[in-house]
């Protein structure tokens, strides 16, 4: 819904993003305004080369920002640098988007896209699911490298494990669609040692 997928109806509430009502923006407008969703299950797109797609996307974002489209030479240099960041095999750039990629390669490709597009707000939707420990570390390293004052991340996960590598500034616990507890990084550690059950029995006021 945040990224603008069709088929959801907003019954109440609003989301303000960069001073605008997010729901008024089409999916591509949100992307051009710097919103990035790393998919939990990235779709395979046969026949569309990964690098060609990414260059088209980058140029859509750049044009929106009033910048010149990137030329082929500069783009190649850029993707080489960013591919290194997430240890993405350069062979995967020429292949069709996600087609035949392993689970880990798909997730790394998502982080790679994020690194190239340089969003202001990145949402990582269960990016850790299905990753072994090495792949998890690579993905986390990629995210950590991209951290900075001009960029925010929303990391959605069921496990504290990821948060050993991506140390959060804020933790919000969602249960049944509601934020039941918010806190700093220490909240994640508490959850890891105590589980979620204590939250159900002792709910704290939101934002306390």
């Amino acid at each position: 819904m945040l990224a603008g997928r069709e088929g959801y109806e907003v019954t109440s509430g609003e989301i303000r993003y960069a001073g605008r009502d997010l729901f008024e923006l089409e999916a591509e407008e949100r992307a051009r305004e710097g919103l990035f969703l790393a998919f939990q299950y990235p779709v395979e797109i046969p026949g569309v080369a990964n690098s060609y797609f990414l260059r088209t996307a980058l140029n859509a974002v750049r044009t929106h920002r009033g910048e010149e489209p990137i030329d082929a030479v500069d783009f190649l240099a850029l993707v080489r640098e960013k591919a290194k960041l997430v240890k993405l095999d350069e062979g995967l750039l020429k292949r069709s988007v996600n087609e035949g990629f392993s689970g880990g390669e798909k997730k790394r490709n998502e982080i790679f896209h994020m690194a190239v597009l340089e969003p202001r707000l990145a949402i990582l939707d269960e990016t850790d699911s299905g990753l072994d420990i090495d792949a998890l570390r690579i993905v986390a390293d990629g995210v950590n490298t991209l951290r900075g004052p001009a960029r925010s991340f929303v990391v959605i996960t069921h496990y504290q494990r990821l948060l050993n590598y991506i140390v959060p500034d804020f933790v919000h616990v969602l249960m049944d669609g509601r934020i039941v507890r918010s806190g700093g990084g220490e909240l994640a550690e508490q959850l890891e040692s105590q589980g979620y059950e204590w939250l159900e029995t002792a709910p704290a006021a939101v934002g306390a």
Binding site: R5, E28, P46, F53, A60, S96
Partner: protein, 440 residues
């Protein structure tokens, strides 16, 4: 007056047939033409009660009164088709134009000429093969095309000879105020161990033009032939093409047929794997919008063992257009170890477009592998959203997915020059389809 003339009088083709019969031609062609005329007079045009013609809108032709093409061949600029080192034969309204053609230098013994000249000089391949595969009683348009026989191309590659550059055969039809019909003929004979790549290109500018090309392609043992067919005839024109291919032992035939234009564009292909270990790869791509109709009727007959054949036919449909795929695989008794595959995939971009798919297998041998599959679908919403969520607008995302769908066929054109040129044509039509015809 013969019975044949009585029977064709009053039909849309009466005048054209009359003119064709009266046109001077070498005796061999005259004989074939008379036989075609007799057969067409007896059988006439097919009607829609025949299964193979169920979807074909021939009625549009019935009210017309076709004339033979104008006698004078106009000056046309064909420079955009001319490529250095690549032989080019140009046919205008079905007739060979020596002025526009540039046959160039060919390997020793290769014959590239027009049909009346080949027939007049007693060409052995004409005598042996013309009209052999395109049997008059097999197909109504074989009869009509033969009855209208006037000109065409003959390409003969002798044993163990390789034709280096792709040969181009360009069939143009010109604008004419009256409806015209022509039936360019194509005879390609690739003898044992030879190599050939050729491109057949149909371009039409006129309205109410009907072209009924008839092609016969004969591969000797271990010959390899690559064949690219592109049709971009004008929106109001019709093309009903017939192609017969015969493969001897160990030979390989591959073709990519790209169909872009025409109110009605129908191709009937019959491929016979007549020798052991023959290989046929047939690919097709049609793009239609508006009221266009594109049809591919493919019959692959495995007559001998160890043969393999593949068919991949794709169509992209916008507007209220229609596609028909009729794919038949026949495996004769004794054609063991046959490997035959067929796939038909249709991408429908608008609610009013219709794709018809009718795969048929007839297998009379027991140790074979035959597969077929057929899909009709829309663009994948998940993929569209993925592309859009990275910044592509809806039109761009759609165009990218449609190009990817079509690209699978274009990638199979092995020669880079025709591939790039065809890709540009396809991209042009797809752009129109995804902005106008395709928007949901």
């Amino acid at each position: 007056m013969s019975g044949a003339e009585v029977a064709t009088a009053g039909t849309p083709f009466a005048r054209a047939l009359e003119a064709a019969a009266a046109a001077p031609a070498p005796a061999a062609l005259q004989r074939l033409r008379s036989a075609g005329r007799a057969r067409f007079a007896a059988a006439g045009l097919p009607d829609r009660r025949q299964e193979a013609w169920r979807f074909t809108r021939l009625r549009a032709l019935e009210g017309l009164d076709f004339e033979p093409p104008p006698a004078a061949i106009p000056r046309i600029d064909v420079d955009r088709w001319r490529r250095p080192g690549s032989p080019l034969l140009v046919f205008v309204d079905g007739r060979f134009s020596p002025e526009l053609s540039s046959p160039g230098e060919l390997a020793d013994g290769v014959v590239l000429t027009n049909l009346p000249l080949a027939a007049a000089t007693g060409s052995a391949v004409v005598e042996a093969h013309l009209g052999r595969l395109a049997a008059l009683d097999r197909h109504p348009f074989a009869a009509l095309g033969t009855a209208l026989l006037a000109d065409g191309a003959v390409l003969w590659v002798p044993e163990r000879t390789a034709v280096a550059a792709p040969v181009q055969l360009l069939f143009l039809s010109t604008a004419s105020p009256a409806p015209t019909v022509c039936a360019p003929r194509l005879l390609v004979v690739a003898d044992a161990g030879s190599r050939l790549s050729f491109e057949e290109h149909h371009v039409g500018s006129g309205p109410a033009v009907l072209a009924c090309p008839v092609s016969e392609i004969v591969l000797g043992p271990d010959a390899a032939v690559e064949h690219v067919v592109v049709q971009e005839v004008s929106e109001a024109a019709s093309l009903v093409a017939l192609r017969h291919v015969e493969l001897a032992a160990g030979s390989r035939y591959s073709s990519q047929a790209i169909s872009l234009g025409g109110a009605l564009a129908r191709t009937d292909i019959e491929v016979v794997l007549a020798g052991e270990r023959a290989e046929a790869a047939l690919d097709g791509l049609s793009l239609t919008d508006g009221e266009q109709q594109a049809e591919s009727h493919v019959l692959v007959r495995h007559a001998r063992p160890h043969g393999s054949s593949t068919q991949l036919y794709k169509s992209v449909l916008g507007g209220a257009s229609r596609s028909v795929f009729n794919g038949r695989i026949v495996v004769d008794p004794g054609a063991q170890k046959t490997d035959a595959r067929q796939s038909n995939r249709n991408l429908v971009l608008s609610d009013a477009a219709v794709a018809n798919s009718n795969p048929q297998l007839e297998i009379f041998a027991d140790d074979v592998r035959c597969t077929h599959g057929s899909t009709v679908g829309r663009l994948d919403d998940e993929a569209l959203f993925y592309l859009r969520s990275r910044g592509l607008d809806r039109t761009e995302a759609q165009a990218m997915l449609v190009r990817a769908f079509a690209g699978e066929i274009l990638d199979r054109i092995r020669e880079p020059e025709p591939r790039e040129r065809v890709a540009a044509l396809v991209a042009g039509k797809l752009a129109a389809l995804t902005t106008a015809g395709g928007a949901p």
